[in-house]
Amino acid sequence: MSWHRLLAGSTKYAVLIAFAAFYLVPFYVMILTGLKPLEDISSFEIWNMPKSLDFGSFREAWNQMDSNFWNSVRITIPGAIVSTFLGSLNGYVFAKWGFRGSNWILFLFVFGMFLPGQGILIPLVWVLQFMGLYGKVNGLIMAYCIFGIPITSLLFYRYYASVPDELVDASKIDGCGFFGIYRRIILPLSGPTFAVVGVWQCTRIWNEYLMALVVLGNPARAPVTVAIKNFSSMGVIPWNLQMAAALIASVPTIAVYLLLGKLFMRGLLEGSLSG
């Protein structure tokens, strides 16, 4: 019995460790390759340790993509802030000021969120061109704000729906109006949800690729995801630069994930509608 249990226990850990290796190997290889100079790069030595610690590839990759990195920052921060605030306001209306048909509107918001982005790309480009925002950072920010509305509204709605209506009714009797209730009751309770939604939006916007490629394909204005693509479409593939670039682009989101994992997890569960 006990050796049986021991065997079962060690099998469990063996499987878990094997999968941990599967998830970590690409990161490991990216670091390994990024630490080698170009002349040491060969696909036959992919598993070999670098001969010495050489940060040249990271420096070189950074020099080529630093402007893209800052573009991503300039896009992600306003995009996340605006869409989060819109979501809070919308979620408040949906949860506490529902009107006839408001459930349908929320349903249509969420439905649109699950459909493939390709379905709106051509008109998006056309409209952005018309507005003079095509190929501009502001155009992409605007797109992220709008396409962020469904998920942020949904996340806030689900949270605000759990705030007791009695609280809202009581402050109505005290004479608070729409904004009074929002400021005195709803906002003070919203801190954690703002954090969850903000983290989720930052990660999603930072990692987004399709719309960024279409709206901001210009290498100088592109965000990091497009910059990585540009590294990989060079004639001779500089694997070391590519891996270094991919790692640099991942640092902010991995840092957020490791530091704020709980918030990240809540966004994931609530956003997939199964939290």
Binding site: K12, Y13, V15, A20, Y23, P26, V29, M30, S43, F44, I46, W47, L89, N90, V93, W97, N103, I105, F107, F111, F114, L115, P116, Q118, G119, I120, L121, I122, P123, L124, W126, V127, I146, F147, K172, G175, C176, G177, F178, F179, N207, Y209, L213, V214, T225, I228, K229, S232, W239, A246, A249, S250, T253, Y257, L258, F264, M265, L269, S272, G275
Partner: protein, 307 residues
């Protein structure tokens, strides 16, 4: 504006029904910009895409004259479209099954009071924190057929087993599913783990008292109770399969379009070849594929939340 209104509301407590009505109007007014934005940028745009698919717009200059089903005919007769459909099936089968099986297995293991659970959980979900572009970049390097993972396989003694991975002219798509599952199986694990943790302990204990072993416990208690999670996972991975774009964009379409996808085909036709009508037809096709997948899911979630 709002201070004005709240001041008025306070000064007229006697007219309670009226200011209540005003507040409702304010609420709708506050929601209106979002409604308009979503209506235009999602729904009007989709309708517009549908219209472009029956227009003559197949060069850089805008041409919205009606063309009938010309683009659709071209699409249906394009061999690349046929390959992409086959690729979608290959990808969906490989990707969905890996995500769901691995996700469930890992969640079930982590639910067994494992030492180092936080470590494992963190590692399993880490790929989800990076962009799909990063996944494509790293795996493209690992799956170089002449070396990469194949070196490891050779070192383990299987010298004659040398898969071509994403360079395989027929099954390259299955290599791509690994890249996708690497990113998303941790997400499915998190869904299942949350689902398992929500099952009350009493239920498990009762089943054990009734003599259920681990396998019976899963078959008769856990898996049926986790059906909503499985539904969610199927819809999310299914939608991911239809929209798949990032990885072919990074690693290329492979020999004979073996790793091409509808999403990438749409992108190339539209934004590289200016065949807007054809691109719009592909995009519309992708939308039509997604609707029967997403709609039943949302309806069932909504129904549950009402109960």
């Amino acid at each position: 504006m709002h201070t004005d209104l709240t001041a008025r509301a306070k000064s007229l407590p006697a007219l309670l029904p009226k200011w209540l009505r005003d507040d409702r109007k304010i609420a709708i007014l506050m929601l209106a910009p979002s409604i308009i934005a979503v209506a235009v940028f999602i729904y009007v745009f989709m309708g517009w895409t549908l219209y472009i698919s029956v227009s003559n717009w197949d060069r850089p200059a805008l041409d919205l004259s009606f063309a009938g089903l010309k683009n659709w005919q071209r699409l249906v007769n394009d061999p690349r479209f046929h390959i992409d459909l086959r690729n979608l099936v290959l990808f969906a089968v490989g990707y969905m099954s890996q995500c769901i099986v691995i996700g469930f297995l890992l969640a079930a293991l982590l639910n067994e009071r494992i030492r180092g659970e936080v470590f494992f959980r963190t590692v399993f979900l880490m790929p989800f924190a990076v962009s799909a572009v990063v996944s494509g970049t790293a795996w493209r390097w690992l799956q170089v057929p002449s070396a990469g993972i194949n070196l490891l396989i050779a070192n383990m003694g299987f010298e004659n087993f040398r898969p071509l991975w994403y360079m395989h002219p027929k099954l390259g798509m299955l290599a791509i599913t690994i890249m996708g599952a690497w990113q998303f199986s941790g997400f499915v694990m998190a869904l299942y783990l949350a689902g398992l943790r929500a099952i009350p302990d009493e239920l498990r204990e009762a089943a054990v008292i009734d003599g259920a072993g681990t396998i019976a416990l899963y078959r008769h208690v856990f898996i049926p109770m986790l059906r909503p999670v499985t539904f969610t996972a199927i819809v999310l991975t299914g939608a991911g399969s239809i929209g798949n774009f990032e990885i072919p964009s990074i690693i290329g379409t492979g020999p004979g379009f073996a790793t091409d996808t509808l999403g990438f085909y749409m992108f190339e036709q539209t934004f590289r070849s200016s065949r807007y009508g054809l691109g719009a037809a592909v995009a519309t096709f992708m939308l039509v594929l997604s609707i029967p997948l997403v709609l039943p899911y949302l309806i069932s979630v909504l129904r549950e939340e009402k109960e």
